[in-house]
Symmetry: D2
Subunit: 309 residues, 4 copies
C-alpha cells in the first residue's frame, strides 16, 4: 500500500461523502464515486475533509467510509482527514485508518491557536500523538480555520517533523507562501510536497510557483489533471485556456459554505452520486442557484468544444 511522500505529485481529489436524503450514508454511491475520480485521472483521494462533511460523522461512520474507500481504491493512495478538537480523537482515527491502509492523514489546526509558538506546539503534540511514522499533510486554510500560519512558522514545523511530508495549500492570498517555501528548500530545507486547494482558482499560478499538483474537490477533476500535465510540460497558455473555460464555474463553486451544495449538484448531474443531500445544517441549492449552475455548465461544454477546434 502506497504512502504519500515529500515528492508526491499530481492530483488528489477531495472526495465528497454521499448521503441519502434522510441523512444515512449512501454506500452505494461511494464505490462509483471512487471509480469516477480515478477514471478522470486522479492520482489519489483525500477523504473526510471539510468538504467530506467529516465533522458531521461519528467515529464509527468515519471509519466505515474510510474502509470502503481504501478497499475500492485498490492500492491507490487515500489520505484521510483526522482533524478534531482533541488529540485523543485524532490519535484514535489515525491508528484505525492507517491500519486499514491509508496513505497518510491530514490535520488542520483547531480554531483557538493564535501565536506562532502555539501553532508549532500544536503540531508537535499531534505528531507525538499519532507517531512520527505516519505520513502527515498539514492543511493551511486560514479562511476556514481562522488560524494564520506564516511561512517561517511553517518552515519551523517542517524542520521539526520530517513525518509532515505534504502541505495542502489554501491560504488566500497564498502564492507568495509557495515561493517562500520553495526558496527555503533551494537554500537547504528539506522538500515537502505542495498540493493546492482553494477550489483550484489559482492553479496555473500555483504550478508555476512550484506546486506539485492539486488537492481540491472541484467536480470536474479532469480539469485539474489536464492543467497539471500542461503546466508540467511548460504549456502555460494552453493550460490557462483550459483553466479560463472552467473558471466561471470554479468561482461559483468556491463560495464558502455554499460550495459543497454546488459540488454535489454537479456530481449528481454528472451521474457520480445518486443524491445531492448533505447532512444538516447543509442545504440543497435553491432553484435560482440551480439555474445559475446549469447555465454555467452549458457554457462550459460549449467553450470546451470551441477549444477542441
Amino acid at each position: 500500500m502506497s504512502k504519500i511522500t515529500p515528492t508526491t505529485k499530481g492530483v488528489f481529489v477531495i472526495a465528497a461523502t454521499p448521503f441519502e436524503p434522510n441523512g444515512v450514508i449512501d454506500s452505494n454511491s461511494l464505490d462509483g464515486m471512487v471509480d469516477f475520480y480515478f477514471d478522470k485521472g486522479a492520482d489519489g483521494l483525500t477523504i473526510l475533509g471539510m468538504m467530506g462533511e467529516a465533522p458531521k460523522l461519528t467515529h464509527s461512520e468515519s471509519l466505515s467510509i474510510a474502509k470502503q474507500i481504501i478497499k475500492r481504491a485498490d492500492g491507490k493512495p487515500i489520505v484521510v482527514g483526522v482533524s478534531a478538537p482533541g488529540l485523543a480523537a485524532i490519535g484514535e482515527l489515525t491508528k484505525a485508518v492507517m491500519d486499514e491502509g491509508a496513505a497518510g492523514v491530514m490535520v488542520a489546526p483547531p480554531g483557538g491557536l493564535k501565536t506562532n509558538e502555539q501553532i508549532i506546539a500544536y503540531y508537535a503534540n499531534v505528531v507525538s500523538t499519532i507517531g512520527d511514522e505516519v505520513p502527515m499533510v498539514l492543511q493551511d486554510f486560514p479562511l476556514a480555520t481562522g488560524v494564520s500560519i506564516s511561512s517561517t512558522t511553517m518552515g519551523t514545523i517542517f524542520e521539526n517533523h520530517p513525518s509532515i511530508v505534504m502541505l495542502k495549500h489554501e491560504d488566500w492570498p497564498g502564492l507568495q507562501k509557495i515561493t517562500d517555501l520553495r526558496e527555503a528548500e533551494a537554500n537547504g530545507r528539506r522538500r515537502v510536497s505542495i498540493l493546492c486547494g482553494n477550489a483550484g482558482v489559482f492553479l496555473p499560478e500555483e504550478m508555476r510557483r512550484g506546486a506539485d499538483g492539486a488537492m481540491t474537490g472541484f467536480a470536474y477533476p479532469e480539469m485539474m489533471v489536464q492543467i497539471c500535465r500542461l503546466c508540467n510540460a511548460d504549456k502555460y497558455d494552453q493550460a490557462q485556456d483550459l483553466f479560463d473555460a472552467y473558471l466561471p464555474l470554479m468561482r461559483y463553486e468556491q463560495q464558502p459554505a455554499l460550495g459543497l451544495a454546488v459540488r454535489k449538484y454537479v456530481l449528481a448531474k454528472r451521474g457520480v452520486i445518486a443524491h445531492t443531500a448533505q447532512r444538516k445544517p447543509g442545504a440543497d441549492l435553491s432553484s435560482l442557484a440551480q439555474k445559475e449552475v446549469d447555465f454555467l455548465m452549458q457554457r462550459l461544454e460549449r467553450r470546451l468544444a470551441e477549444l477542441k477546434n
Copy 2:
C-alpha cells in the same frame, strides 16, 4: 432517575476528569471525587464540560466516564456535556448517556455561528437530533465559544423548545441578561432554570437577580452551597462576607486556560484526586503559580476562621 426541570435549583458542580500522569483516565479517583462533591452539598453534577476536558476524550472514553459517574451518583442528577462540532456526535453521545440514566445534556454553540438566525437554527437542529424528550441545558459562554446570544435570541430559543429547561449562564458581563430573562417570564414566558458559571465570581449578584443556583467547578463547592442557601434566606451581607473570603482564590482560578490547572492543584491538595495531570495541551502549574495558590489557600483558611468567630 431524576431529570433536570425548569424549576431545578441548587448547585451543580462542574466535575473535573481525573487523569494519571501518563494521560490515562484515573478511574480510581473518579468515585472519590463524586463522593466529595456530594458530601460538600452539591445537588447534582455536570460532567464532560470544557473543564472536564471533554474535547480531549474519545467517544468511548466519554461514555465510560459518564457510566461510572452516573452509577456512583446513585440517583442524584448528572448532566452530561455533549457539545461537538457535528450533530451526529451530539446525537450519539446523548442517546448513550440518557440510556445510562443522565439527568439531561448540555450543549454550547459551536464557534462559527454569527447571526441570531444562525444561533436559533442551530438549537432547532440540536433538539431535532436528540429528540425533544431529552432535557437540555443551553450553555451561554461567549468568552470561550465566541458566540454572543442576545436576551431576545435566547428567549426565542426557549419559546421554540420546551425541552431546553435550563441555562448555564456565563456571559460576562451577564447580570442584565438574568434580569431580562426573569422579566420576560414575569410577562408570561415559560420559566427556565438559571444556574451560573464563570467560576462563581458574580454569584451573590446573580442570586439577587433571580438565578436558581450555581453550575461551576470552583474547587470549594461548599462555598457555592452556602452562598446559595444564605441568599435564598435573604442573608445577603453574610453571603457576601463568605464570598469575599473566597474571592481572591476564585479570581485566581478564573484565569482562562490556566484555571483548570489551578482547580486540579487545589483538588489534589484537598485529597480529592490523586494527580494534577491534564491531558495535553494542558500543563501543570509552574512552581511560582503553586506558591501563589498556596498563599491564597492559607489566607482563605485564616479568613474563614475569623468569620466563624
Copy 3:
C-alpha cells in the same frame, strides 16, 4: 449637486487614492483618475473606502481629497466613505463632505458588533449622529469587517432609516441576500438601491438577481459598465462572454490585501495614476506577481479582440 437615492442605478467605481512613492498624496494624478473613471462610463464614484486607503489618512487629508474629487466630478455623484471607530469622527467628516457637495456617505460596521440587536443599534446611532437628511450607503462586507448582517437584520435597518438608500453588497456568498431583499420589497418594504462589490466576481448573477449595478474598484471599469448594460438588455450570454474574458484578472485582483497592489499596478500600466505606491503597511507587487498580472492582461487583450470578431 446630485444625491444618491433608492432608485440609483449604474456603476460607482471605488476610487483609489494615488500616492507618491514617499507617501504624500499625489494630487496631480487625482484629477486624471477621476476623468478616466468617468470617460470609461462610470455613473459616479465612491471615494475613501477601504480600497481608497481611507484608514491611512488623517482627517484633513481625507477632506482635501474629497474636495478635489467632488470639484473635478463637476456635479456627478461622489459617495464618501466615512467609516471610523467612533461616531464623532463619522459625524465630523460627514458634515464636512456633505457641505462640499457629496452625494452621500458610506458606513461599514465596526468590528466588535455581534448580535443583530447590536448592529441595528449601531446604525441608529450613526443616523442620529449624521442626521437623517444625509443619504447613506450601508456597506455589507463581512470578510473584511467580521460582522455578519442577516437579511432580516438588514431589512429592519432599512425600515428604521429611510435615509439609508443604498446597499453596497459584498457578502460572500451573497446572491441569496439580494433575492431576499428584492422579495421583501415585492411584499411591500421600501426599495433600496443595491450596488455590488466583491471585485465584480459575481456581477452577472447579481444583476439577474435584481442588483442595480456595481460598486467596486476593478481597474477596468468599462467591463462593469458594459455588463450592466448588457444585463439590463437581457443579453445574458453576451454579458457572460465579456465577464468570462475579464474573470481571470478579476479573480487575481480579488485576493484580500494584495488586491489593491494589483489594482494600482494595472491603473499605472493603463496610465491612470503615476505611481503604484501605497501607504504603509501596503506594499508593491513582487516581480513574480507583476509577471502574472502582465500575462493575464495580455491574454485579456487577446480575448477581447477575439470576442469583437
Copy 4:
C-alpha cells in the same frame, strides 16, 4: 517636562474623559479630576486610552483634552494613548501631544494582526512613523484587541526598538509573561518598565513577579498606590489584606464594556466628576447595577475601617 523611561515605577492612573449629559466634553471636571488623581498619590496619568473613550473623540477634541491635562499636571508625566487604525493618524496626534509636553505615547495593536511577524512589523512601522525619540508604551490587551503577543514576540519588539520603554501589561492570564520578560532581562535583554492594567485584579501577584507598578483606571487610585508601596516593602500580607478589601468592587468594575459606567458612577459619587455620562454607545448603569455598586462601596468602607483597627 519629564518623560517615561525603562525604569519608571509607580502608579499611572488611566484617566476617564468627563462628558456633560449632552456629550460635550466637561472641561470643568477635567482639572479637578487631574488634581484628584495626583492627590491620591498617582505618579502620572495615562489619558485617551480605551477607558478614556478615545475612539469617540475627534482629533481636535483629543488634542484639546491632552493640552488641558498636560498643563494642569504641571510637569508630572502624562502618557497619551494614540492608537488608531492607520499610521498617519498615530503620527499626527503623537507629534501634537509631544509638542505639548507629553511624557510618551501608548499604542495598542490594531485588530487584524495575526502572526508574530505581522505584529513585529506593525511596531516597526509605528516607531518609524512617530520617530524613535518618542518614548512609547506597548499596550498588550488581547481581550480587547484580539491580538495575542507571545513573550518572545514582545522580546523581539523590545530588542528592535529601544524607544519602547514600557509595557502596559494586561494579558489574561498574564503572570507568566511578566516572569518571562524579567528572566530574559536577567539574561541580558535591556530592561523595560512594566505597569499592570486589567483593573488591578492581579496587582499583588504582578508586583511579586517583578512589575513596576499599576496603570489602570480603578476609581480608588489610593488602593493601587498603597499596594505598590506595601509590595515594594515586602509587606505582602498587608498588601493582600488591603487588596482583598477592594477586590469585590474591582471585580465588579472589571466587567468588559460595563466597567467604564461603573468607574464613572463611582467617580461621580466620590465627587471627582460632575456627570456619569459617556458618549454613545456607552450607557449609564441600570438602577439595579447602581444598587449593587452602592452595596459594595458601603462594605468597602466598613472593611477598610476594620482593617485600620
